[in-house]
Symmetry: D2
Subunit: 285 residues, 4 copies
């Protein structure tokens, strides 16, 4: 059984080019079983060609653009069907031993720029080591973060890491996701960072959450509880925020403003109604 | 024209399993045009099966192993032909703009656990920004590291990053490679970390160097000057040392000892002798 | 021979007390041979009593204040004579060995919160070790900071340390002073942090500089070159900015605004005219 | 009523002087009401003169020494009476507001090199904010450290700070003391670091603990529980370990070995027997 939500997305970014510059954008949504792109346009005010590429996972999408001086406006608009597979039969989803992980998943066990899991082994073991392996333990990580870290815009910046956030006990969605990733990795559970458009997020912005490998797939988790997970439409995924910047810039580019809107187009469509929505659900990719 | 060196490699690792444990080894060499594996054996004292996988690049090789208690000895032996392509015609090798990089290369622009390039933008621009882009600038980075960082075993540990090394002005090959990677990324040049068996390295050990994307390929660089680059037989590659651990361990595993030997089997074979060996050379993969 | 400058100082601080709170202010100038307080008033809008204390050096002045809710305005006004002793005979001012330092000076050799000299020993020795000990070497430190660190408001925050500033290559006067202190200590030269009203500083603000022990006294240094040293009227001194906060707060206190003005009251008075002004000068305390 | 313990102390330090060097030792015990020095000798194998000084607190003692090349052995021997004042009447010992602290105590509210209390405000408030102010809260800090940090020689080094220790969840007595100091300061309670000879410590070594200002005096606390507090004979005190190095070295000095012994000379003398020993007790200085 599936529940299907339909969303419209709009992201408008404005840059000032002081001289020739390059932009690599990660703003177009991933195409996957759990999010079907119905319509999509990407345009810019200077009529420049976009160079589309996929990241090393073959799924995330990057759009490159070279521009001369002037104001540059970029507009991304899409309609997306978000598909929630109700798979209660998938419980329990066990943790997988080091040796049985797929080769493409293993690297998400290792520490990354903003997720220094190597420093958190002892803390993670003390705090979460006694919990039931699998979903229960990851949910325990989320609950702990939600209860112990203050969501506080302005408390952190673009250099802030999971260890910094754990020390300061404050952060934003990016920091909550980094800490979730770092703690899971410290427990031996592969975890990666996700960025998304999120229906219901106030104020509208790119959201960050994290994905965890349990059983034989990735599952979504979000320790912020700021928006419903069925309204996440994923844009980026990677080791951490370093891999999923909205825009990587080079040359004379300066960010000006950003406007994001996510709207629900229709009521949810339910194919078959006799099952509860799973607390967490797989991105199916 | 090519010069071919033939090496024998032997790596013996001993672990104590206090209880059931898992090991994921990155000790088998990469198979590529520039290093042809002639013979290879991987065995362990308990006769356990190895689970071979490749990393997300499809090239690096990992061997998983689950073991009960006891002493566990792992032996890797190989004979490898190391092929040096003399490609002086490839000069100059320009830096590539953000937008023109292949999607699989772009992530190596981003900061990683041990290579916090995001913090080094200003330093890198001041120190190396005026140099000729391309090989000259990367060579400038290597020379600067060689001249300003003391090679000092014991000065750093497994948590030490490029920024730490730059502050302390001391480190080992791992730190030299991390700093090289971080500085190149801060300059907008994709760079990744490499681990290798290295002929001529004293004392014998796994060596670390780094690779840089110039023109349309990766090139080897090593700021330590501890061993000749034609004697590098690559084992791992990744964002930094986090991706290339000799062994990732889980459960009751404790490292005991390691012995490495790399020997030259024959004099170098030269296919055609009328060209100089390039200062740096591509791994061709 | 002396040159005397006369300055008026005004500092107006406004706080919002959300509930009962405590403030410990370090805004009144030090009384010393090189800065004579002619007039001085300290008042607050609520008519609350100030509890005046001196710091552990017996010289810096702190004013405590307990307040109920409401807006609280604090006004400090002073007229000060700044006395520049022209002591060219004091050259050279040698560095002093560890054993010959006064007991009250020795602690300024040790690392402090924002001046992690313990991590900079190797860098300091490499960069400044070959310079002539004494003033020449400290001036070399100042020149190096001025040339290699960008003065960039907003690049750093209240947690930023000397090592952070050295990594980022950017900061404000506080960071420049911390780096100067840290590098001198790493060279074995006692150094402390100073805060001051500074004539000619634009925009008007509390300024930070540093003091170095050479020969048998402290000397002023400032790597920012933002204001003339004869216009510094010192307020705080200590290991680093941690010891010299304008205001330490507790309870329901929130900072609102600050206004500072420093004006020259008369032309400089010169007692005797036959000597050059020394490049650096002692605070005489 | 008092209980008096009598201890003999012996500390033997050996250094290799590769060339002329300077040593500043902090190995002689503090003279105070709670520790009376009965006998004391300080000698060195080269018959060099010691230059005795006191630190800025006027109480801690430093011995300077300049030496030419060769092996240098330093021997400190003392007999000390440790006086425990049983002052149960002093309960409760309240925390003191910012404004009512003596000027010499206030600086121990501020962060220092190894005690970055500025980063721990939020954590301290969350974890300990609800506890009864005063001794109960400080005891809560000690208990939390004891329960959450592993005492693990080798896990940390001389650069490790309180924040590092809190992240890694491991450390030695120095780290436990730093964390205790940092957490108390983050709660607005003045705290300083103490070093001591400690009867009963196994293996014998310089011990670290911390002191907290409650009511109108400093009180001893130790989160390690490794030795009885009545057996602490204090040597150093300061902001953190930076102020209390056993030896600060300059020039060609290299540490070789150290031997420490603390023995109880007589059974405890009890002046008057009708009171319990207080859990914590003031150093009376």
């Amino acid at each position: 059984m599936q529940i299907i939500h339909r969303f419209s997305i709009s992201s408008r970014l404005v840059y000032q080019m002081h001289q020739k510059g390059w932009l690599l954008l990660n703003i177009a949504v991933i195409r996957a079983d759990n999010q079907r792109v119905l319509k999509e346009t990407l345009t810019n005010s200077a009529g420049l060609p976009f160079n589309e590429q996929t990241g090393p996972d073959g799924v995330t999408r990057f759009h490159g653009l070279a521009s001369e001086t002037g104001l540059l406006e970029i507009l991304y608009e899409a309609e997306v069907e978000r598909v929630i597979h109700l798979e209660e039969e998938s419980y329990p989803t066990p943790e997988v031993t080091l040796v049985d992980l797929p080769g493409a998943v293993t690297p998400f066990l290792y520490p990354s720029r903003y997720c220094e899991s190597d420093k958190l082994m002892r803390f993670a073991a003390k705090q979460f080591g006694g919990m039931m392996p699998g979903h229960e333990r990851v949910a325990g990580v989320c609950n702990w973060i939600y209860s112990n870290i203050d969501y506080l815009p302005g408390a952190t910046d673009e250099h802030t890491s999971a260890v910094d956030c754990l020390t300061l006990r404050a952060g934003v969605c990016r920091d909550f996701a980094h800490l979730g990733v770092a703690l899971c990795r410290a427990l031996g559970i592969p975890a990666r960072y996700g960025s998304a458009y999120a229906f219901g997020l106030i104020p509208p912005d790119y959201h960050a959450f994290f994905e965890v490998w349990l059983g034989n797939r990735w599952w979504y988790y979000d320790a912020t509880r700021l928006a419903p997970q069925h309204g996440f439409i994923q844009v980026g995924r990677g080791h951490d925020a370093a891999d999923t910047s909205v825009a990587t810039m080079s040359g004379g580019v300066q960010f000006q403003t950003m406007e994001i809107a996510v709207n629900k187009l229709t009521p949810a469509l339910v194919d078959h109604a006799n099952g509860p929505v799973s607390f967490f659900e797989p991105p199916n990719s």
